[in-house]
């Protein structure tokens, strides 16, 4: 039994050595495999959620994301909707957004990029407040708080 334990221990240690030796040369392929695991995607609370609709106007694309209510189990009462302005973004923007895709605008958002001021006009009682309004590498992004 003592010999078996020694052999098992030494084998495991040598296997560990091989693991460390191959770790760095194969790091990219190991990482790609790990990245394919089902949970390896950024939570919608950070990524902003999938695109729900796109409006193209004067070289600028307005991307309205799906509302995010993600909680640990099920959905939360309060969430947000992210709107991205991509491409040739004007100095002043004023756009009505229909996030629930019912054909009626839910809020009006006005952004003055030079003074970094954003005005939110809720047109739907489910719209609560302005969470974030910021310049991004692709243009501008706004997150608006909403209720279920």
């Amino acid at each position: 039994m003592k010999k078996v334990k020694i052999i098992a221990g030494v084998t495991w240690a040598l296997a560990g050595m091989i693991l460390i030796i191959i770790l760095f040369p194969f790091l990219n392929s190991f990482s790609s495999s790990v990245a394919k695991l089902p949970f390896m995607k950024i939570n919608a609370n950070y990524s902003g959620g999938a695109a729900a609709s796109e409006i193209i106007a004067e070289g600028c694309t307005i991307v309205v994301r799906k509302p995010v209510f993600d909680g640990l189990i099920g959905e939360r009462k309060n969430g947000f909707v992210q709107v991205d302005w991509r491409g040739n973004v004007a100095e002043k923007m004023s756009d009505s957004i229909d996030y629930d895709l019912d054909g009626a605008p839910d809020f009006l958002v006005q952004v003055d990029r030079s003074s970094i001021k954003t005005l939110l006009v809720p047109l739907n009682p489910m719209v609560t407040d302005l969470k974030t309004s910021t310049q991004t590498s692709y243009g501008w992004a706004v997150r608006v708080g909403i209720k279920k």
Binding site: K5, A13, G16, K41, I42, S47, R143
Partner: protein
């Protein structure tokens, strides 16, 4: 007498030490140069050469002198400083600031580090997603490679990751060596369980809020890496907490206690790594027949991993990070690196050589990029 006994321990002749260093020389050469050294950029070439020489001289010295901890600590501390330098310089190059903005969060551009891992587990299980605004793969400090590096290192080294892989540990390890005598001599060992409380707290709060709460509110290393831009009372409070905890747990307490207090009392990943010590093949053994119970190792251990009870039982606790300080301190060579299943006092040389090769290879290759980058930035001032 003590000195003579210690030196007689694991010390090797010059030629033998060089022979043991040869595999490390070859492997680190392949990793650092990519197999094809390019001398077109003098600053980068010199940075690579210095890094290559540094890691191999340290590894050679471990074999030649028979000492482990002091040479490990040099690389470990350099790694921590160079990693912070790399992170900060990357932040300044890409954002003109050490702080990240709302846009960086929205675009998921925040560099990922291993300390987030414990907070990801519950949300990943329930929501099938990662609660961190970083990149899954590709780009600077992405999530998947960091998980792979940590997972493999932890599987093989256990809590050894905390002394041979963690790019933050070098900070409090460094400060714990500043003074020769301790100002605070008595610390209740119950505090060593504190990381488990922090782990439970941050895991639960992260699951409930879907926020990496340790990173958002506690992590002392935000002070030497990157943090949220101060734009509100909340962000100012967070910055205050980061700086205070860094000053307290990483600078002042390690200086006063000569212990790694951040790693011992605060780090939630340290708690996870402690559990992983149960599966790793490598361990530190106490040969009771050679031990004269001087308890110098108890004093020396920076992580409260050895108590008098441990010595009487003949085994270190699961808190051991295999730094080698106790091994170097023991005047009778009663403490040594070992392999699980192999009785204490036997296969000492084989166990130490194998452990040193594995652990040093990991830190040498893992740290090389940061050290080269930092040296390169410095050398560019002259070239």
């Amino acid at each position: 007498m003590d000195k003579v006994l210690t030196d007689a321990g694991m010390k090797k002749s010059f030629g033998k030490a060089l022979l043991y260093t040869l595999p490390m020389l070859l492997i680190t050469f392949m990793f650092i140069s990519g197999g094809r050294p390019d001398f077109s950029n003098p600053a980068t070439s010199l940075a690579m050469m210095i890094t290559f020489l540094l890691v191999n001289v340290l590894y050679f010295m471990m074999h030649y002198s028979g000492k482990t901890d002091q040479y490990r600590a040099i690389l470990f501390i350099i790694f921590a400083i160079s990693l912070s330098f790399t992170l900060i310089s990357n932040m300044i190059a890409t954002r003109n600031s050490m702080s990240f903005s709302q846009a960086d969060i929205l675009e998921c551009k925040i560099p990922f580090c291993h300390l987030v891992i414990p907070m990801m587990i519950l949300p990943a299980a329930f929501t099938q997603s990662i609660i961190f605004p970083g990149s899954i793969i590709g780009g600077f400090a992405s999530i998947a490679p960091m998980i792979v590096l940590w997972l493999v290192a932890t599987l093989v080294l256990g809590r050894g990751f905390c002394s041979w892989g963690c790019f933050y540990g070098g900070w409090d390890d460094g400060f714990s060596r500043v003074r020769k005598k301790r100002t605070i001599t008595r610390i209740n060992e119950i505090w060593k369980w504190m990381p488990f409380a922090v782990l439970i707290l941050v895991s639960l709060t992260a699951a409930l809020t879907l926020l990496p709460t340790y990173c958002s509110w506690i992590c002392p290393f935000k002070a030497v890496t990157e943090f949220e831009k101060v734009t509100s009372v909340e962000s100012a409070a967070k910055a205050g907490v980061f700086v205070s905890l860094f000053a307290g747990f990483v600078v002042v307490l390690p200086v006063m206690t000569r212990k790694r207090t951040q790693c011992s009392f605060l780090c939630p990943l340290g708690a996870v790594n402690t559990l992983s010590n149960k599966v790793t093949p490598f361990t530190v053994k106490i040969d009771k027949t050679a031990c004269n119970e001087c308890f110098k190792c108890v004093q020396a251990c920076p992580l409260f991993a050895i108590s008098r009870d441990n010595i009487r039982k003949g085994e270190v606790s699961v808190f051991c990070s295999k730094c080698g300080k106790c091994v170097d301190t023991c005047p009778n060579n009663a403490i040594h690196y070992g392999i699980k299943g192999v009785p204490a006092g036997t296969m000492k040389y084989f166990s130490r050589n194998l452990f040193l090769f594995v652990s040093f290879l990991f830190i040498a290759v893992f740290s090389a990029g940061s050290i080269i980058n930092s040296l390169n930035s410095f050398l560019k001032l002259f070239f």
